[in-house]
């Protein structure tokens, strides 16, 4: 694993040259200080020599320091992460060929273990959100279908003609449908942010870290840009080591919940909620699709399933359908119902949002805090153009 693989020029030589040039300029300034007998100029030059010594040290020690820190971060993160996953993600020892194949396809190549584990957390949260959303969507489809059923009757009598229309189920389902649609909307946005974070993590690992660190090393060697250089180095180090660590923590929590439940951390509660719609999360995911197909068949195939001889018979058929697909759930909006109760869709959506935002918030805050404390140590600025005011 080479964190600097994406840098295609001899940055070490370039950094060395910059330090040499800077050293030569400082020497000239020192000589001028001697000629002018100006102690201030001499002191400035001496301070520059000390700073250049540090720059030289940072340049020489960058590769071994980064590699050893990456190793330490990898060992640390792999040891605290559930071994089933860390062994597969970091060492390639996967329990099943399918798992190995997924890891091969989804994990960025040439990334260190702690970055891969952070990405695993984001991918796993996305996958769970997807499962949860899938079950919610299926519920929505069935409800939407039943809600859309309307009864129409045309009449011609005397001078007046017209039609009588009404939707028997719509009034009882409108609010539930609205809630599901609202949660669905939340989930879509959250999943988009999850995906963004996953891509950002790969970008940090492959591109941002080496570019910022090397730019920082080079800029730190010049008096003019020393503070900026130190700041860039601090940003690079914090983004590479601190930022992913809180996602690793999130992964530990997520996998712990998965392993102690039924394989789901977010949607498990939805399964727990009650007997009917929660079943949609099971592997037999076509069960409800068949229900819908049956329902449609019963409506569409009027001759066999719908009593067309009298209106009452038609209503009875539709009412039986209503019961058959088990949507007549008066307690849906109660404390224990599948919408608002524990494990309901609001609860599930909140869990998705918790896993999506809480750990990223922690990561962001701790990264900014790390930059603030690390930057002065590396001779950089404390302020990041207003960002540091957040912490």
């Amino acid at each position: 694993m080479d964190p600097f693989a994406s840098i295609n020029f001899d940055w070490f030589l370039f950094g060395g040259l910059i330090i040499l040039v800077s050293g030569a300029l400082s020497t000239i300034v020192y000589l001028i200080g001697i000629i002018l007998m100006n102690e201030n100029v001499k002191t400035w030059a001496k301070t520059e020599f000390v700073e250049l010594f540090f720059s030289m040290f940072f340049l020489a020690a960058t590769v071994p320091l980064v590699l050893s820190t990456v190793s330490a971060a990898d060992v640390f993160s792999a040891s605290i992460y559930p071994s089933t996953y860390s062994d597969c993600i970091c060492a390639g020892n996967c329990a099943t060929p399918e798992m190995a194949s997924i890891m091969q396809e989804t994990m960025p190549k040439d990334a260190p273990c702690h970055i891969k584990l952070a990405i695993d957390f984001l991918q796993e949260t996305f996958r769970e959100s997807k499962d949860f959303m899938k079950s919610m969507f299926k519920t929505y489809v069935i409800w939407s279908f039943l809600s859309s059923i309307s009864f129409n009757m045309d009449y011609v009598g005397g001078a007046a003609t017209g039609s009588f229309n009404f939707s028997p189920f719509q009034p009882f389902m409108a609010i539930q449908l609205e809630i599901i649609a609202y949660m669905f909307d939340f989930l879509i946005k959250t999943m988009f942010i999850l995906k963004f974070q996953e891509i950002l993590m790969g970008f940090i690992s492959t591109a941002l870290f080496p570019v910022l660190l090397i730019s920082g090393l080079v800029l730190r060697s010049l008096y003019l840009t020393r503070r900026l250089g130190g700041l860039l180095m601090a940003i690079a180090i914090s983004l590479y080591f601190i930022f992913p660590m809180f996602y690793v923590l999130g992964g530990i929590v997520l996998h712990h919940l998965q392993d102690n439940g039924n394989g789901h951390a977010i949607s498990a509660f939805y399964v727990k909620a009650d007997g009917q719609l929660g079943k949609m999360l099971d592997d037999d995911s076509f069960e409800d699709a068949e229900n819908l197909a049956d329902a449609k068949k019963k409506i569409c195939n009027a001759k066999t399933n719908l009593d067309i001889d009298n209106i009452q018979g038609g209503f009875e058929q539709v009412y039986s359908l209503y019961n058959e697909v088990k949507v007549l759930d008066a307690d849906a909006i109660s404390d224990s119902g599948w919408i608002m109760g524990e494990g309901g869709i609001i609860d599930g959506t909140s869990r998705v949002m918790f896993f999506s935002f809480f750990f990223s918030f922690l990561s962001l805050m701790s990264t900014i805090a790390a930059v603030r404390s690390l930057s002065p140590m590396l001779g950089g600025d404390v302020e990041i153009a207003g960002l540091t005011h957040l912490v």
Binding site: A5, S6, P108, K109, K130, K134, F137, K138, Y140, V141, W143, S144, F145, S148, S150, F151, N152, M153, D154, Y155, N165, I180, A181, F184, D185, I188, K189, M191, F192, K195, I199, G202, F203, T206, A207, L208, V211, S215, Y223, T225, R227, L228, L231, L232, S285, A289, L292, K296, I299, C300, A302, L306, I308, G314, V318, D381, E383, I384, A385, G386
Partner: protein, 312 residues
């Protein structure tokens, strides 16, 4: 003869006039101080004379940096700007943003719009069945409202991205048109005047940083993204979005497939995932990189301003 593209001799004239006025001012103060015997005025004129020399030095340095960086970027990028008078690095940064716009944002918008239209069409299909006088009406493809709403969310997110990308492009054009031709000379002139010395320094650093560092960071980001794409074996260079209209699975390529969409994907909204990825990748270029570039550029302006003013 222009010292560098976009800055003509007329500004050098203004700078010369400013220097002449400052010399006159200093001579006047010094003469008055001698006449009325005010040693503090003499000291003041000495300080101003020293500042005048510093200002001339800064002027030479600023113009030198301006000319030097143009040459440096032309050499580093291996090409000159296609339009004389424009900056090569700004042109390179603009082409990166335009690539994101033309090969990312717009095709994704078209795909999402197409998807929204098709789902809306299917959402309106209803079946009416029963005897002639009374009958039941049902939706043929129920539940599509949620998908349509999701597609709209993605669509409006990409619309925002369209706006931010266009703004970035406009900012680059504005920088090229304003920073070296106006802001830099204005900064140099203001540096000569005692009351606006700090403002002058700020404008000089602002011009240098936004003309060079700001677009250069975009170019570096593009190089980094190219490397990511190569390392991950996704392609030879960065592609913001692979339109589903032109690559497998060609969901929208044939009428037959289009007809099947709601049926095939009735319970499988997972087909939205490639759009998530597309929007996320475009967000990286449309939101994250600009904010990073702006943050680093501002930090650079602060660092340079502090250096030139000697305050920090």
């Amino acid at each position: 003869m222009a010292l560098y593209p976009g800055l003509g001799t007329e500004y050098l004239g203004i700078m010369g006039i400013t220097v002449a006025i400052m010399i006159l001012y200093i001579v006047l103060v010094r003469t008055i101080s001698v006449i009325i015997k005010r040693p503090e005025w003499t000291a003041y004129s000495n300080i101003e004379l020293y500042q005048l020399f510093i200002s001339v030095g800064i002027m030479v340095l600023a113009l030198g940096i301006a000319a030097g960086t143009q040459v440096f970027f032309e050499e580093a990028l291996g090409k000159k700007a296609s339009t004389p008078g424009t900056s090569a690095v700004i042109e390179a940064a603009s082409s990166f943003i335009q690539k994101n716009l033309n090969r990312g944002v717009i095709p994704l918008l078209v795909d999402l719009m197409s998807l929204e239209a098709k789902f809306s069409f299917y959402n309106a299909v209803e079946l009416r069945t029963g005897p002639t006088v009374w009958n039941w009406t049902i939706k043929m493809y129920p539940g599509l409202e949620a998908i349509i709403n999701s597609v709209r969310v993605l669509f409006f997110t990409v619309m925002v991205m369209y706006g931010t990308t266009s703004v970035q492009l406009f900012i680059l054009y504005l920088i090229d048109a304003v920073m070296y031709p106006f802001v830099l000379p204005a900064g140099v002139v203001l540096r000569f005047i005692p009351q606006t010395r700090d403002a002058g320094i700020f404008l000089i650093t602002l011009a240098i940083v936004f003309q060079n560092i700001y677009p250069a960071l975009y170019v570096i980001s593009e190089m980094a993204l190219d490397d990511i794409w190569a390392i991950q074996e996704w392609g030879s260079s960065f592609e913001p979005y692979s339109s589903l209209s032109s690559s497998p699975p060609a969901m929208f390529s044939s009428a037959m497939t289009v007809v099947q969409i709601p049926v095939v994907h009735l319970f499988n909204y997972v087909f939205l995932v490639p759009f998530f990825e597309g929007v996320a990748t475009i967000s990286l270029v449309g939101l994250f990189i600009p904010s990073l570039v702006m943050t680093l550029s501002t930090a650079f302006v602060n660092a340079l301003t502090r250096f030139f003013t000697g305050k920090g």
